[in-house]
């Protein structure tokens, strides 16, 4: 049994950490409470380590087999899990001080005692870890049920995190929208899963993949796939499920927004890769693309997503909303990699590797932009919660008034823009190469043009802190007392620069991770019931 669980060591480690955090967060001792975040961090480090060493497919670990999760993209799992843990590690300091700040201040000044009922710390960090755990589970999901549960595990905690991320109405509003629309999205992909099950009589994804490749795709299966993908579009904030994005990001605190831009998106992309991977990129005239209908669907979604995200982003006056829309656009970019597929398996042609690399690049870069917003705040007059930066006006002259925050914004937005030689460029380049290699040149052109549209608002994000004079109200801005946030931003900005130089190591990893064993799945033994169904 332990052997069967071996590939879940990272999740187990995280779960253990979650339990500890839940308890520690309710401690009466401030230092113990405070240490809960550290435990989180340690849990993530351990999970990352375990993911990199024990996950099947990782170097030194056993090769992936049907007993240890999906075989659709088995090599992706160790990379995805360690990458997720590392980005989560980067997100963690950004979340510092999101909840309980006023409360802790009151306790510190002895105006109030610790009241577990009023403290959100334990929930907050444990939800964070839960969400990450769910995300890790998505990566190795080999069953639609598992996938569904993992996705829900990823999402549900985030609803709460949004709601408690600040005490203002906005975050509640954001939570409402996020939760209700999320439920709707979940229902859609759930229905899609149901149809898939209906079509193949099994929820085992390896088996479905084998069946899909064994015969033609029935309309029912195709409908199921499409519904699933469309439902998953909610997770990655792609058209047509993108509506909530800006409102939720704006309503949530910057740290939580950063998390939303990474965690559900990664979950969505991993799930989409698995779903699409079941079908395989063996169709089309060249025998190396998705089936027409699927390709068309993803093509339209990709093109619309990047366009809608970008054109809406350029209209915004709120930096956070801009970043939210840009996050939509980035999903569109990444879909190009999904469409491109594994190509011949080399990094240049492998869209899966490109997506994985991009997820990492986007995750790292994204932290920096939100960190810039989270590092500085405007104290409110009435003693209520200070407001994080939101509008572009707040960003004016940030490089002069708060250099660290300003520069992380500058560097990270340029990276998001895809300006060489920053990490974002090397994220986008494989998308270009794999797209071109897959013959999706029009889509690559759309991608290029969209990058250009995006330049408009990224330039603003870069120019306001760097080039504008501090505004009249800039003097009111004070640095956020939680240095960890700044650390997160600095790490992110540093990563954006240094990872560009040493990107090759990651690229090698993603090359491996993106391996798509077209033949491996076919040999998987189908479940007996499946055989029975077939015999009918």
């Amino acid at each position: 049994m332990i052997g069967r669980l071996a590939f879940l060591w990272p999740e187990i480690a995280l779960f253990a950490a979650t339990c500890v955090v839940m308890v520690m967060g309710l401690s009466r001792s401030f230092s113990v409470r405070k240490a809960s975040a550290w435990v989180c961090g340690i849990g993530l480090i351990v999970a990352a380590f375990l993911a990199a060493t024990t996950t099947p497919g990782a170097p030194g670990a056993p090769a992936p087999d049907a007993a240890h999760g999906q075989l659709i993209l088995p090599w992706m799992v160790p990379f995805a899990k360690s990458m997720i843990c590392l980005v989560a590690l980067l997100l963690l300091p950004l979340l510092a001080g999101t909840v309980d700040r006023a409360e802790e201040a009151r306790i510190a000044s002895s105006r109030a005692g610790f009241n577990p009922l009023r403290s959100n710390r334990a929930e907050f960090y444990s939800f964070f870890l839960f969400s990450i755990t769910g995300l890790l589970l998505v990566a190795s999901a080999d069953n639609l049920i598992w996938l569904f549960l993992a996705l829900e595990l990823t999402s549900l905690p985030t609803y709460i995190m949004v709601a408690i991320s600040s005490s203002r109405h906005r975050s509640q509003e954001a939570a409402v929208k996020y939760f209700f629309l999320g439920a709707m999205g979940a229902a859609i992909f759930l229905y899609g899963f149901a149809l898939l099950y209906g079509a193949y009589g099994t929820t085992n994804m390896n088996a479905i993949a084998a069946l899909m490749r064994g015969g033609t795709l029935s309309t029912l299966a195709m409908a199921g796939l499409m519904l699933s993908l469309l439902g998953l579009c909610f997770k990655i904030a792609a058209v047509p499920m993108h509506f909530y994005t800006a409102d939720v990001y704006q309503g949530a605190s910057a740290g939580v927004a950063a998390m939303l831009a990474f965690v559900p998106k990664t979950a969505g992309f991993l799930a989409i890769l698995l779903m699409v991977g079941m079908v395989g990129w063996n169709y089309g005239p060249s025998g190396a693309s998705l089936p027409d209908s699927l390709r068309l669907l993803l093509w339209v979604i990709a093109a619309l997503t990047m366009t809608v995200g970008n054109v809406l982003a350029i209209l915004q006056s709120s930096a956070k909303r801009t970043l939210a829309y840009s996050s939509i656009a980035h999903s569109g970019y990444m879909l190009v990699g999904v469409i491109a597929g594994p190509g011949d398996g080399s990094f240049t042609q492998n869209g899966i590797s490109a997506v994985l690399f991009y997820l990492l690049a986007y995750g790292v870069t994204n932290v920096g932009t939100f960190a810039a917003l989270a590092c500085v705040e405007r104290p409110s007059a009435d003693g209520s919660e200070p407001r994080e930066l939101d509008s572009f006006d707040d960003l004016r002259g940030l490089c002069r008034t708060h250099p660290a925050a300003g520069w992380m914004m500058v560097i990270c937005s340029l990276s998001l823009l895809g300006l060489p030689p920053l990490l974002g460029f090397f994220g986008k380049l494989p998308l270009f190469t794999s797209g071109v290699a897959a013959g999706e040149i029009p889509l690559v052109i759309v991608l290029g043009l969209n990058s250009a549209i995006a330049a408009f608002y990224y330039l603003r994000l870069m120019a306001y802190p760097l080039l504008e004079e501090p505004g009249v109200r800039s003097g009111e801005l004070v640095a956020n007392p939680f240095l960890a946030r700044r650390l997160a931003g600095i790490l992110s900005a540093g990563g954006v620069i240094s990872l560009a130089v040493f990107a090759n190591a990651i690229m090698k990893q993603t090359t491996v991770a993106g391996k798509y064993p077209a033949a491996a799945v076919a040999s998987t033994k189908a479940e007996p019931s499946l055989t029975a169904a077939e015999q009918r």
């Binding site: 080399s346 240049t348 040149i441 043009l449 250009a452 408009f456 330039l459 120019a463 090759n504 090359t511």
Partner: protein, 581 residues
């Protein structure tokens, strides 16, 4: 590439300084950029001057180290592994074309610092740091032997320029900077798709799903040779379109030029100098280095179309110059016209044309850069660029006037100055390049036309482009006539004040009426270069003989043998590369 290409430095050979010259060329400005950024503000200016001088000295050293006799060979080659997964390496090497453009960059560096000496008083560290970063990026463009490295530097130039324009420009600077950035960025994104496409077509990959990581290559030498064999005509046409989308905007060619006047007008003096001097050349260099070798067939086929665009640019830009009142805008539009000549020479695809085109890149950088300096110096004194407000400055600023007239003449293409050499060759190359010579209406049958070269342009193109020479004389002399000559007019001295009130007119700020020694120092090297290259361009001809000869041979090869004989060459080049690894 020639067999004589110096072997790529092998690690076994140990440390050899010639492998690192190019890295140094790029690293020195970059290092100084950081030194300035983190140094004391009051020392920024001096540090920048020192840094650019060091860079210039280094450039000079490299110029002397360079083997000019073998200008076609890429020298000081060095390849540092970087991203083998993507087929990207930090691969460097210069032939004489790149070397000359690097020399131009190195020369303009200190001059720009000198030009900004008093003009920039606010946020000096930011200014000089970005200026040097820009220089590093420009050098990077020219030394790159890897497509992506080229592209990285090509794109990175946008940011410093954006900052320079949008922080230190004049009134409308924000919009200008944004337009500049978005316009060129849009173009270059499409160009990137084209470049990637070329790399993909030439991937030559073993189709094994699990192996073969990094078998793509972005190595320019390999791609150049391979592209002709591997791309069909239709593919070449598309790639050409994509590449031109990026490079034509940068040049800028006719319909995509509108960012330039705006950017030039608003940019600070040094920004304009760099922009006109080097940045525009990135476009023509890109066309020469990539569009032409990658899609030779399409380039030959669409040469007339490109030529028409150039000619429209020449005449249209010239006519627009004529009615400008803003001096900087005038010079900016004149750049549109001038670079029309430059690209026209290139599309002539013969020795004279291409040689003229490359020389044009350098000469335009010198003369127009100097014109921008002149206008900038005047602007610093009068805070206007309007020809309506200033006039007759010769009586007040004779030294300035002398330089101005000199550079205008260089720009007009007066023989004996540098502009003529390149302009003549471009027109001449266009004139020659026609397959119709000696046929049809152009001559009776059998009459020998020894001076004709193959091509699809010809005398009509040259004639109509030549009209641009007249137009150039008109608008530039009108500018000179208004600003340099005529009765003295100064802003703020309207009404009864003229001439006689000259003494009482306060020279603005700290600057004397005429050019200071510093400003003369900034202009002098350019003037000398203009004169020397005008009267004795032989070193340049000799230097460019090799690369131009190879380019023409390549074009000729495609003309004679069609597109399909590149495969063998590809193989040989790849073999050669493998051998040197």
């Amino acid at each position: 590439m020639q067999n004589a290409a110096t072997p790529i430095s092998a690690a076994a050979a140990g440390f050899q300084i010639q492998d690192w010259w190019l890295v140094l060329l790029m690293a020195v400005p970059l290092a100084f950029s950081f030194i300035i950024a983190f140094g004391a503000p009051h020392r920024a200016r001096a540090t920048a001057l020192f840094g650019t001088l060091v860079a210039a000295a280094l450039t000079t050293v490299v110029l002397f180290q360079f083997n000019w006799g073998n200008g076609a060979a890429f020298q000081f080659q060095n390849r540092i592994a970087w991203l083998p997964s993507l087929g990207i390496s930090f691969s460097m090497g210069v032939d004489s074309v790149a070397m000359l453009l690097i020399a131009l960059t190195g020369l303009l560096g200190p001059l720009c610092v000198l030009a900004s000496w008093t003009a920039i008083t606010d946020r000096v560290r930011t200014y000089y740091a970005w200026l040097l970063a820009l220089q590093a990026a420009m050098v990077g463009v020219f030394i790159a032997r890897d497509l992506i490295l080229f592209y990285i530097c090509f794109e990175f130039t946008l940011i410093p320029m954006y900052v320079l324009i949008s922080l230190y420009g004049s009134t409308n600077r924000k919009r200008a900077a944004t337009t500049f950035f978005l316009y060129t960025f849009t173009g270059s994104m499409i160009a990137l798709a084209g470049l990637v496409y070329v790399a993909w077509v030439n991937a030559g990959l073993p189709k094994d799903a699990f192996e073969g990581a990094g078998t793509w290559t972005f190595d320019i030498a390999v791609l150049q040779q391979a592209a002709q064999g591997s791309l069909t005509m239709a593919q070449q046409s598309l790639v050409l379109l994509a590449l031109m989308a990026g490079f034509a905007v940068k040049v800028p060619l006719f319909p995509v030029h509108t960012w330039l006047p705006l950017a030039h007008t608003e940019a600070p003096t040094a920004g304009s100098v760099i922009l006109a001097g080097v940045l525009l050349k990135l476009g023509t260099y890109g066309i020469y280095r990539f569009a032409l070798p990658f899609c030779t067939g399409a380039f030959i086929q669409y040469a007339p179309f490109l030529a028409v665009l150039c000619i429209i640019g020449i005449l249209y830009g010239g006519l627009i110059c004529w009615v400008q009142t803003d001096m900087k805008k005038l010079v900016a539009y004149s750049s549109v016209a001038h670079l029309g000549f430059c690209v026209l020479g290139l599309v002539a695809l013969n020795t004279a044309g291409i040689q003229g085109s490359i020389l044009y890149m350098i000469n335009h950088g010198l003369s127009t850069g100097a014109l921008f300096l002149c206008v900038g110096f005047m602007y610093e004194r009068y805070h206007t660029r309007s020809m309506k407000e200033v006039g007759g400055l010769a009586s007040k600023m004779p030294i300035w006037a002398t330089f101005m007239v000199f550079f205008v003449m260089a720009s007009v293409g007066l023989p004996g100055l540098n502009g003529f050499i390149s302009e003549f060759l471009c027109i001449f190359g266009t004139f020659q390049a026609s397959d119709t010579w000696g046929k049809g209406v152009w001559g009776s049958s059998g009459a020998p036309v020894p001076g004709a070269t193959p091509g699809n342009l010809g005398p009509w193109y040259a004639l109509i482009a030549g009209l641009g020479v007249i137009v150039a004389a008109m608008y530039l002399l009108i500018m000179v006539g208004k600003v340099v000559f005529g009765p003295l007019r100064e802003p703020g001295a309207h009404g009864d004040a003229h001439g006689s009130h000259g003494e009482s007119h306060d020279s603005p700020g700290h600057l004397p009426a005429d050019l200071t020694a510093r400003e003369i120092t900034a202009l002098m090297p350019l003037a000398i270069a203009c004169l020397v290259f005008g009267l004795y361009p032989m070193p340049l001809f000799d230097a460019l003989k090799g690369p131009v000869g190879e380019t023409v041979a390549m074009v000729q090869d495609v003309r004679e043998n069609g597109l399909n004989n590149g495969a063998a060459k590809t193989a040989s080049v790849i073999d050669a590369r493998e051998g040197t690894r």
